[in-house]
Symmetry: D2
Subunit: 359 residues, 4 copies
C-alpha cells in the first residue's frame, strides 16, 4: 500500500495492484500529458497532468464502490486507466486523430501495462469496464475529479462541489449510478460548475487559438497515427521544432514564445458545416498556415440525463431541476467559431472575408 | 487605523471614523445577534454574527468605491451600519415586528452611534444612504459578503464566488451598480450560490421548525416592539426562560435542549393565505402552542434585475443569462409551508387535519 | 446514523448512540459555551462553540480508533463528552472555580446524559475513560481538533496541520498514543501551531483584559459554584446585567459595549506569587473594581513528552526534535502579567504603582 | 494592464511594461521549467513552473513597494526576471554548471528581453537590482511566493504563511527589508514553513534519486554550458532520449518510466568531502553509471539573519526568537548523503562498500 499526497483528496491510497499498474511506462507517460492542453496560456497555473487526474479518479471510484459493494472491483482499476490513451496536450489533437479511447485500448492490449492487467483480468473483459458508469456515466468519478481539480489549478472559483456528499449519495443499480435525493443539490452544483468552467476555462479563446496553431503544425508535419499515439509532449514538441518544414517550425516557435494569432472573426452564429468547409478551403488556398479556421463541436451536456431518485421514483435530473433544464438551453450560448490569423495578415484576411464570405 | 483579522477577507482595515462607529453600544450589540438565526441547529458551526458580516460588508463597499470614486464616502459607512437594527436571531422575528430596517434608523437617530454619525453627516442625509445601491441593490456588498461568509461557516460548498473579479467589474453609473462584461459569469455564480444556499441552508426545515417555536414563544410572551428592538439574544432568551407563562418556558426549554417539534405536513403547494389563516385559527383553538403553522413569504429574487453591460448596452442579467432566467423559474420550487407539532401530539394533529383540512 | 456538516472535517458521522448523547440538555448546553471565551473581542469571527469542537473531537477519536482497534469503544464516546463541564466562556472562570473536568463528571453522574451513558457503560468505568490518551494525552484528538478549528474561525494562518497524516500515524500501545516515524513532522507542526496560536490568539491582550473584567464581575456577584456550573452564557450574562451591585452592572455593561480597561502594566518578568498577592490586596484596597490584576498560569507544554517511534525505539518528541526543544524554551517568552484599569483612573494607578511597587 | 488568474494571489495585475517583458521568448521559456524539478515523482501534483512563480514574486514585490515608496521601481521588474536563467528542472543541474543567476544576466544582456529592459533602464544598472533585498534578501518576495506556492501544489500543509500580515510589516530602510514588530510571528512562521518543507518536499529522497540520475545522464552526454543554458525541458529530455550513448538513453528511459535507483546508503553523518571524492572515483571505476553518489550542499538558512524591529531597535530574528535559533540548530538534522544503485546491482554495491568503505 502506498500513500500519495494530493491537494484535492488529501491522500490517495494505492493498493499493490494499483501501484503495479502505475509503475509501467504507459502510465508514467501520463505525467507528460497536460490535463488542460494549452489552457496554461490563459491560466498559467494550469500545469496539472493526466497522471494526477487518473489517480484522483481512481480514488473517487474506490470511494463510490465502498458505498456500492455490488460494483465489480475491476471497474475501479479501469477508472485508473481510463485516460491512458490521451494524446500530447489531451483533447487538442482529437481534431486530427481517432478519439483517445482507442489508444487506451491499444496500450492495454499491447503495452507492459497489459501484462499487469492480465494477472487478474481477461483483457477483453477489462476493456469493457472502461465503459462502466463509474467512469463513463453522466455523473461519474472522472467528471467529479477533473472539475474540482481543474478549478483548483486554474484558481477558478466555479468548480467547487460537495464531493463528499455526492459520493455518499451515488447508488449503483446494476446499470448506472443514480443520485439519491440528498445528493441532488450536489449533483446540480457539479453540472453548474461544469457549465461555468466551459466558457471561462475550457473554451477560453487564448487556449483555442494556441490549440488551432498546434493542430495546424501537426497536420502540416503529417505525423502518422501509429507514431503520435505513443508520443508524449516532449516527443511531439521536439519533433515539431526539428521539422524540415519551415511553416511547422514557425508555428511551434510562435507557440513556444506565445506569439499567438489574433481573432479576425469570433462568432456564435453557426452557418453550417458546409460553409465552414468551403471557407476553410478558400482561406487555405489564399493564406496557407497564416490563417486558421476553428469550428469546434457543440457541447453535448449529457449529464442532464443523469438519473435521480425522488420520492422512490427514478427521474431524469433535467426533469426535477429547472436549473439543469436551463443549462441545456444555455449549453450553446458560449459556443463560438473563429478565424485566427498571424498578426501581420489580419487586415488582409479581414478584407478577404468581407469580399466574399461575410457581409 | 485598525486591522481586523477576518477569515473571509484576510484583513479588514478600519479607519478612525469606522472605529468610532464600531465602538458604540449599538454596534457592539451586533456581536450578540447570530447571522443565521437558529440555523445552527442544522449547521452547528454557523455561529457567526451580524458584527463580522457588517465589517465584511464595509470592506467590500470600500473596495467597490476604490474602483468608483464618484460613490460618496458616506455610503461606505452606511454599509457598515446597514444591519444595525436586526432583532435577536436576525430575520426570525420579522414575522411579528416591523422590518429590521426601521430599527436601524431608530438606533442611528437615537443611539450613541448617531452622535458619531452627526460629526460628519446630517442624520437624515445619512439615513438615505442606507438605500444606496452599494448595500441595497440587486448585486451589492451586503449580499456578496453574506453568501461567502455563510458558506464558510456552514461548510456548504455552494457559496464560492469570485469576489475579486466581481468587485473589479462593478461599475456605478450614478444610480446603480452595473456588472461589466467580464464580471457576468461571477455575477451569475453569485446568484447561483444564493439559489443553492436557499434550500440547503436558509430554508433548512430544522431551522424553520426551531424558528417557528421561537416566534410562538415571543408571541405568547407578548414583548412590546419598543422593548424587543433594543434586545440582544441574551436579553431575549433570559426573558423567555423567566416567563410567567408555562407555555413560553416550555418552548424555550425545548429550543435550548433541541427537542424540536416534528413535521406533520410539509408541502410546496400553496392553497392561499386565506386557507392558512383559517387553518391557523383552527389549529390554535384545538392545540394552542403545541402546533405551529409556518407559512413563509415566497423568495423574491430581485437580483435577476441587476443590470449588466454587454457590448456597450445595458441589459438585465436575466436577459443575457438563461441560467438566471431559470433561477427565476426555480425560485418557488423549494418554497414549503409546514405544520409542526410537539412529538406527543403528532398523531392527533394528523387526524385533525385529515378530518377537515387535508384530503 | 446522522451526518453533520462541518467546515473542518467535511461531514461528521454520528451513530445512534452518539445521537442520543448529543440530544440531551447537557450536551445541547455546549452550543451556548463559546470555545475561545472572550477572544472574539480580538478576533470577531471566533464565535464557534464547545458543541462543534466536541463533535470534531469525537470524529478524530473515531478515526484514530479505526487504525487502532484495541482502543475500547467507550473512549470514543468519552471523547465526545470530554468538554461537557465547561463554564460559560470556557476557561475564563476557572480562575475562580474548580476545573471544568469536575463538572463534566458531575453532569455525567447527575444529568439526563448519564442515563444514556448507563445504557452501555457503568458510570464509573466511563468516567475513567475521560482520561484516555485519545483525548487526554500529549497529542490527542482534542488538541488536534481545537487547533485547526480555532485557526479556521480566527482566520489565523498558523493552525494548519496535516491532520490526515497524523491520524494515520498515531499508534496506541495500550497505554498511550505514539507517533510513528512518518507522523513526526506532522506532530511537530501541531506543536508549532499551538505555540504560535498561544501569543497571537489564546493570550491576546484584548481577550485577557475582557476576561479579567468578567472574572471580577463574577467574583463580585459571588455566584456559588453549585449554581454556576450548570449555567450557560445566557444565564451568566443575564444574571450579571440584573445584579444588585452597581459595580457588577458597570463591568458587564463595559464588556457588552467593549469599553475595555487599559493596560497600565504588561510585563514578562515574574516577581513571584507573593508579590502579586500583596499588590492585588493593595490595588483592591485603593481602587476596588477599577483596577484588575492579571497573573495567568505559565503554559505547561506537556506535548513535548509525546512519544514517537524512531528506528523502532520509543523516544520523547523533544529528544528527536530540536524544534520541539526550543518550543519548551520558548514557552515562557510570551507569558505576561498585567495591571489593567478603567480609562479614567489609568494615570492615578500609574502614580500609585510608581510610588510603591514598581521602580 | 492585464489581469492574470492565480490560485495563490487571486489575480495578478501586470502593467504594460511587465506584459512586454513577459511576452518575450526568454520569459515564455520559463513555462517549460518545472519549479520543483523532479519532485513530481514524490508529489505528482507539483507541476508548477518558474513562470507562475515569477509572476507571483513580481506581485508580492509590487505590494511590498506600495508600503515602501522609496524602493525604486526597477526592483519590482527585477523581481519579475530574477529566475530567468534557471536550467531545465530548476536547481537540479547546478551540480554541473554555473549557478542560474549567471544565465539570468546572460539572457538579459543578450536576449530580446534585454531590448525591452533597455527602453527604461541601463542594463548594468538593472542587473544590480537582481540583488535587491526585495528579491534577494533573507525574507523577500521570492521566498514568500515559492513557499506558499510549493505548499499549494504539493498539498503539503506546512507552507501556510500569513503573507498579508508579513507584506504589511516589511519596511525598507534603504538597505534591507526589516520586519516590523507585528510581523515577527508571521516571519517566524515563514521560516518554520521552510524548515518543514525542506525534508518533506525539497529533499525528499525520491526526488533526490531521480535528480542524481538526471545529473549523471547530462554529465555523460557532455552538453556544453553554452548549449544547456538556453535549453528548456523539452530540449533537454529530447536530446537525452536521442543520445548516441546507450547509458544516457538507459538513464533517461528509467527516469521517464520511474524505474528509479534504490538507496544502498543514506546517512546523516558527514565524513568529509575528500572521502566522498575518493568514494565517487572508486564507485565510478567499478560500476560506472549504475551507481550514483549524492552529496548535496548543507542548507544555509540565512533567513536567521533577517532584521526585525523590537521596541524601536534593530535585532536579528534569531536573537529575538528561540524558535529561529533552534531552526539553525535543526538545519543539518535532515541533511543526508546517499549512494543509489540500479536495482539489480544493489547487492553487489553493498558488498563493495562493506569491503572497503563502510564498516
Amino acid at each position: 500500500m502506498k500513500l500519495i499526497h494530493d491537494p484535492i483528496h488529501g491522500h490517495i491510497e494505492l493498493d499493490d495492484f494499483a501501484v503495479r499498474l502505475v509503475d509501467t511506462p504507459e502510465f508514467q507517460r501520463l505525467r507528460r500529458i497536460t490535463q488542460l492542453g494549452l489552457a496554461f496560456f490563459a491560466y498559467p497555473s494550469a500545469r496539472h497532468t493526466r497522471f494526477e487526474h487518473s489517480l484522483g479518479t481512481f480514488h473517487l471510484a474506490k470511494r463510490i464502490r465502498e458505498h456500492n459493494s455490488e460494483i465489480e472491483e475491476g471497474a475501479v482499476y479501469a477508472a485508473l486507466l481510463h485516460d491512458l490513451g490521451h494524446y500530447p496536450f489531451s483533447h487538442t489533437l482529437e481534431a486530427l486523430y481517432p478519439r483517445h479511447e482507442e489508444n487506451t485500448k491499444w496500450f492495454i492490449r499491447h503495452g507492459e501495462i497489459g501484462d499487469v492487467v492480465r494477472e487478474r483480468y481477461s483483457i477483453e473483459e477489462f476493456l469493457k469496464l472502461l465503459k462502466h458508469p463509474l467512469v463513463s456515466g453522466d455523473i461519474d468519478a472522472d467528471r467529479m475529479d477533473y472539475l474540482v481539480r481543474d478549478a483548483y489549478y486554474t484558481g477558478a472559483a466555479y468548480g467547487v462541489v460537495d464531493l463528499d456528499r455526492l459520493v455518499r449519495n451515488l447508488c449503483y443499480d446494476g446499470e448506472k449510478l443514480v443520485v439519491g435525493e440528498k445528493g441532488i443539490i450536489a449533483a446540480q452544483s457539479l453540472l453548474l460548475a461544469r457549465s461555468m468552467m466551459y466558457p471561462t476555462v475550457y473554451q477560453h479563446h487564448v487556449s483555442r487559438i494556441a490549440s488551432s496553431m498546434l493542430v495546424k503544425a501537426v497536420e502540416l508535419e503529417g505525423i502518422p497515427y501509429r507514431e503520435i499515439r505513443a508520443m508524449d509532449e516532449v516527443d511531439l514538441v521536439a519533433r515539431l521544432r526539428k521539422s524540415e518544414k519551415p511553416e511547422v517550425r514557425e508555428l511551434i516557435n510562435a507557440i513556444d514564445s506565445r506569439r499567438l494569432y489574433k481573432r479576425v472573426l469570433y462568432s456564435g452564429d453557426d452557418p453550417g458545416r458546409e460553409f465552414f468547409e468551403e471557407l476553410g478551403r478558400e482561406l487555405d488556398a489564399e493564406f496557407g498556415h497564416l490563417v486558421l479556421l476553428d469550428y469546434p463541436p457543440k457541447p453535448k451536456f449529457e449529464e442532464k440525463n443523469a438519473f435521480v431518485v425522488v420520492g422512490g421514483m427514478f427521474k431524469r435530473l433535467s426533469e426535477v431541476s429547472p436549473l439543469v433544464r436551463s443549462l441545456v438551453e444555455l449549453k450553446d450560448t458560449h459556443w463560438r467559431w473563429g478565424v485566427y490569423a498571424r498578426a501581420d495578415v489580419v487586415e488582409r484576411v479581414e478584407k478577404f472575408l468581407r469580399a466574399g464570405f461575410i457581409p
